[in-house]
Symmetry: C2
Subunit: 539 residues, 2 copies
C-alpha cells in the first residue's frame, strides 16, 4: 500500500470523528457519469472532503471492475489516511462491477441447502472466498455482506432473495460459511441488517418498518444468524432502520442504545465494527435532523456512520456533542480503536492479491454455473419443433427496462430462442397490457425480483391482471421466470401452470443459458452445432 497507517492517537478530535464517517461516491471516474447526483458527490467535492476531513472511507456504486480499480487508486491518493472502500456486493463482485464473478442471489444457496446442506455450505464458502479475492483485486476492502436476515415474509420487498433463506438454521450456517470463506483474504465482512430485516413488508429505504415480535421470538429467530456470524468472527455488523417494539419503542435500531450497545455489544459480545445502514435512507432520515441522527447513532453505539447526507454536518454535530459532554472522548476513542483494528487487518498485511486481469477464473465461473444448475426448478420440457415454419414469439417481460443489465445483445435469453425461430418482443411490465393479443406460439420469459427502493416486490395488482389476460389471450407454450421464487409460486397457484416452465434464481447470461437449454431440452453439443455465434461463453 502507498499510504501507511498512521498513529490515530495523534489525530485531533475532529480528525478522529472523520474516521467514523464513510461517504458515498460513484464508482465511475467522471462526474458526467454520476447516476445519483443527490447522493454522490462530484470529484471536486469528494477530493476536498478526503483531503481535509480525514474521512474513514468511501462506499462505491457503479462502474466496471476496471473502473473500480482506477477509481479506488484515485481515492486512496486523495486521502492521507488509508480509506475503507466498501461496496454492497452481496452476489459476488460481478453483481455490481462488471467483469468480476457474478454469483446467483443467496437464496439459491438456501434452496440447495434444503436437500444438501453440505453442498450448499461448500458453495457459500467459495462465494465468500471468491468475493473477497476479487474485491481486493480492485481495491475494495470492505464487503457489505453476508445478509443474515431470515426472509420469512414472502412479501418482503427489500430482502427477498438477497437472504439465504427462511429458517434461522440455514441462514446461520450459510452466513457463517460465507464469512469463513472470505477470511482467506484480508477484506472485511459484514453481517446485516441487525437485528433482522427479514420479516418486514415495507422497505426501510423508503419508510420505517415496525417489527412487533416479542423478545423470545426475536432471540430464537432473528438473532440466531447474527450470533453465528459473531462466532465466525465477522468483522462488522450493519444496523437496520427498523422499530423493534419489544426492545425500544422510541428509536429505530440504528439509533437505539438498547439494541446496539445492550444487545449487540454486551449480550452478544460483538467486539468488531458497528456500522449504520445508510443514514440518508427514508427509514431513519424521516426520524430526526441530520445532526441529531449522527449524534444519536454514535450514542447508541455505532462506530461508523454510513452515508450521512453531509459529512461536515455529521462531524460537527458529533464534535459539538463531545464538547458539550453529551458524548465522551472515551466513546470516540473506543470506536477509533475498533476502526484501527479493522484497518490493520486490511493494510498491515503482505497483501498477496490477484491482479485485475485474473478476475472471473474459469473454476469460479464453473461454481456459479453449478449453483445455478443445482438450484434450478423445472416441470417438463417444451417439445422442440425447429423445422416448423410457424411464426413464433419470444416475449420477454422485465420489471424495469432502465434497470436491466442482463439486456445485452449476446444474451442467451435472446440468442437461443432466436436460433429456434422465435422473434423477440421485449417489453416492461407497464406495456404488458398492450401486448395481450397475439396468436403466435409464444414462450414467455419474465425477469423479476425484489430490489431495494422498489417499494413492493415489483409485482403489482395491475401487473397480475395483465398476466392473467396474457395467459387467456395469447398462446403461451412455455414459461421461464428469472429471479423471485415467490412469483413462481403465484403463477403456479393462480395460473394452475400446466405448460412447461423453468425457474432460475439468477438473471445473468449463465442463468439464461441454463434455463433455455432446460426448457428446450438442448444439449451443449446441440447448441454448439446450431450456431458458433453463441461461442463457448454461456454453454
Amino acid at each position: 500500500m502507498t499510504n501507511l497507517l498512521p498513529d490515530w492517537t495523534q489525530f485531533t478530535l475532529k480528525e478522529k470523528i472523520g474516521q467514523m464517517i464513510v461517504v458515498r461516491a460513484s464508482g465511475y471516474l467522471f462526474d458526467h457519469q454520476i447516476r445519483y447526483p443527490v447522493w454522490e458527490a462530484s470529484n471536486p467535492q469528494l477530493s476536498h472532503w478526503l483531503a481535509t476531513l480525514n474521512l474513514g472511507g468511501v462506499i462505491l456504486l457503479g462502474g466496471s471492475a476496471a473502473e473500480l480499480l482506477l477509481r479506488t487508486q484515485q481515492l486512496q491518493k486523495w486521502s492521507k489516511t488509508p480509506l475503507f472502500i466498501a461496496a454492497d456486493i452481496e452476489e459476488g463482485v460481478g453483481q455490481r462491477f462488471s467483469g468480476a464473478t457474478y454469483f446467483p442471489p443467496p437464496m439459491a444457496l438456501g434452496e440447495i441447502a434444503k436437500s444438501d446442506l453440505k453442498l450448499a455450505l461448500n458453495y457459500a464458502y467459495k462465494m465468500g472466498k471468491v468475493t473477497a479475492k476479487e474485491a481486493l483485486a480492485m481495491g475494495i476492502n470492505w464487503i457489505l455482506s453476508p445478509i443474515v436476515d431470515v426472509n420469512n415474509n414472502p412479501d418482503n420487498p427489500v430482502i427477498n432473495i438477497r437472504s439465504f433463506g427462511d429458517t434461522p438454521e440455514i441462514v446461520s450456517a450459510l452466513g457463517k460459511a460465507f464469512i469463513e470463506g472470505a477470511k482467506n483474504h484480508p477484506a472485511l465482512t459484514t453481517a446485516k441488517h441487525f437485528p433482522g430485516h427479514g420479516d418486514t413488508s415495507s422497505d426501510s429505504h423508503l419508510d420505517l418498518p415496525l417489527i412487533s415480535h416479542d423478545n423470545q421470538r426475536l432471540e430464537s429467530l432473528e438473532l440466531v444468524p447474527f450470533q453465528a456470524a459473531i462466532e465466525a468472527k465477522v468483522d462488522s455488523v450493519m444496523t437496520a432502520h427498523l422499530l423493534i417494539n419489544a426492545w425500544d419503542q422510541q428509536n429505530p435500531a440504528t439509533l437505539s442504545k438498547t439494541i446496539l450497545t445492550d444487545k449487540l455489544r454486551e449480550q452478544l459480545g460483538f467486539q468488531g465494527l458497528i456500522v449504520t445502514d445508510a443514514l440518508i435512507m427514508g427509514g431513519v432520515a424521516k426520524f430526526a435532523n441530520s445532526e441529531e441522527i449522527a449524534v444519536q447513532a454514535v450514542e447508541a453505539g455505532a462506530d461508523i456512520l454510513l452515508m450521512p447526507d453531509d459529512p461536515e454536518i455529521a462531524i460537527n454535530a458529533v464534535y459539538k456533542a463531545v464538547e458539550s459532554d453529551r458524548l465522551s472522548v472515551a466513546r470516540i476513542d473506543d470506536s477509533l480503536n475498533r476502526i484501527w483494528q479493522a484497518k490493520q487487518k486490511i493494510f498491515n498485511h503482505q497483501n498477496k492479491t490477484i491482479s485485475i486481469y485474473q478476475l472471473s477464473q474459469t473454476e469460479d465461473r464453473e461454481t456459479v454455473k453449478n449453483i445455478l444448475k443445482d438450484s434450478l426448478k423445472t416441470s417438463k420440457n417444451l417439445p422442440l419443433n425447429v423445422a416448423s415454419e410457424e411464426l413464433k414469439r419470444n416475449l420477454i417481460v422485465v420489471d424495469d427496462l432502465l434497470n436491466a443489465d442482463f439486456l445485452e445483445r449476446q444474451m442467451p435469453a435472446f440468442t437461443i430462442p432466436n436460433l429456434l425461430g422465435y422473434d423477440l418482443q421485449l417489453v416492461d411490465q407497464n406495456t404488458l397490457n398492450n401486448v395481450l393479443e397475439d396468436n403466435r406460439e409464444t414462450i414467455l420469459q419474465i425477469f423479476i425480483r425484489g430490489n431495494p427502493f422498489r417499494g413492493n416486490a415489483g409485482f403489482s395488482e395491475v401487473c397480475k391482471k395483465s398476466y392473467h389476460k396474457v395467459f387467456e389471450k395469447s398462446s403461451i407454450k412455455g414459461l421461464i421466470i428469472y429471479g423471485s421464487p415467490y412469483i413462481l409460486d403465484w403463477f403456479k397457484t393462480e395460473m394452475r401452470l400446466d405448460i412447461p416452465w423453468v425457474f432460475s434464481y439468477g438473471q445473468m447470461g449463465e442463468s439464461q443459458a441454463i434455463a433455455c437449454q432446460t426448457l428446450f431440452n438442448l444439449s451443449a453439443a446441440q447448441l454448439r452445432e446450431m450456431s458458433q455465434n453463441l461461442g463457448d461463453v454461456f454453454i
Copy 2:
C-alpha cells in the same frame, strides 16, 4: 513506451506479413464479456497470435475508457513489436468507450457549416484534437476516422449521419479540419471509405453495393474529399467494399489494383497506409475465399489487412503468393516501410499524453453542448401546464432496445418529462403497433439513426404505418427526434407536422437535456429549481 520499435528489415518474411494484419478483439478484459464471439478471439487465442505471429495491430470494440486503458496495456505486453491499436471512433472516443468525450455525429457539423462554415471548421478541428488526445490517453493510437464520404443519398443505411454532409465542399473542408486538429497529438487518422461510400442504398457490411457513376462524376464529387484529406496529410485511407463500374467491373475497390494503386497511390499521390475495411464484411467475404481475398488485397495495393477471418490463413496465403512469385518481396517491403513510418510517428515520440483521469474536460464537454445547440432544429414550444392533474405520457420509441446505451435511469429524456408529470412508456419499434390507443396527452420521443449492419436506415414500411396510426389514435402534443434528419423530413412531409417538435443529431444525455429544455421552453434555472436530482451534469 515499454516496447521499442525494432528494425523491421530483420524480420522473417512471415513476420513482415504479420505486421500487415490487424485483428479484431473485444475491448473488455474478460472472455465472458465478449459480445461478438464469431469475430472476437478469446484471450488465449489472441495472446497466442500476438506472441507468435508478429501481428501489426488490433482493432477494439466494447468496454469503457478505463477498461480500454487496462486492455491496451495488456495487449502491448503480449506483443514483442509495438502494436497499432485502432478503433472506429467517429464521434469522439466517448461514442465507443464510456467516460471519454462523446461528440455528436459528423453531420451535425455539416448542418452548422451550411450557415457558418468558419464555426463548423472550428468545431471539426476541436473534435479531431480532442479525439486524438483522449484516444492516446487510453492507448488507442489509430483513429479510424474521419469519414469523408459524401452522403448524397438519403436512403444510405450505413453512412447516413456518420458523414459530414451531402456536398464535396463541406465534407472536404470539415474532414481536413478534423485531420489538422488530430495532428496536435501523435495518433493516426484515416480517411474512409475510398473511393466514396456516400451514394449507396445498401450496406457493404451485408452485401456488395454497386456505384454506377462515370469517371467524371466520381472525380468531381466522390474523390474530392479524399484529395483534401491527402493534402492535409492524413495518415491512412480505408478502402470500401464497393463495385465501381467506371473503374473496375470485376473487383470491389478493396481488391482492385486499378482503384488502390492506379487511382489512390499514383493519381492522387497518397504515400500513407492503405488499410482495407474489415475483410469479414459481407461485401467482400462473399466475393472469394479468405486466402484469395488476402492476396488480392495486397496485390491491389493494401498495406494493412483489417479483420481477416483468421490471421494465420491470411499470413500463409500472402506468404505462398510471395513464394510463388505472384507477389514480390519488394511489394511487402514497401508496405513495411509505410507501416514503420506510421509506427515511428506513434512510438518514437516523447509522448506527453494526458492521464486517464483527465478525459472529458469541462471545456471539451462545453464544445459538445455548443455543437448540439448550434445544430438543433425546432418549430415552436409546447405550452407548459405543470399544475395540470391530467395523466400524461412520455412515449419513447427506440429503434433497438438492445443497442441503446442512452437508456440510463438518470437520462434527461426520462427525468425532465417526469418532473413535468409525464409517465414513461418505453418501447421499441416492434411494439409500437401495440401502443396505438391511449388517450393520455403524450409527448413522443424517437431515437433512430442509421447504423452499420442494420440493412436499412431502421425505418421500415411497417414502422411508418405504425407512426401514422399513433398520430391518428393518440393525443401527440409534442415530438422530439434524436438521430436522423431524414426521419424528421419524413415526419414533416407525411404527418404535416403542426405540433411543436425538436430535432437533435445527438442521442446522448446532453442532446436529451437540450431537446427537452427546448421543447418545454425551460431555462437551466427553472430546471435546477424543479429538482436537485438532475444535478448539474446535463444542465
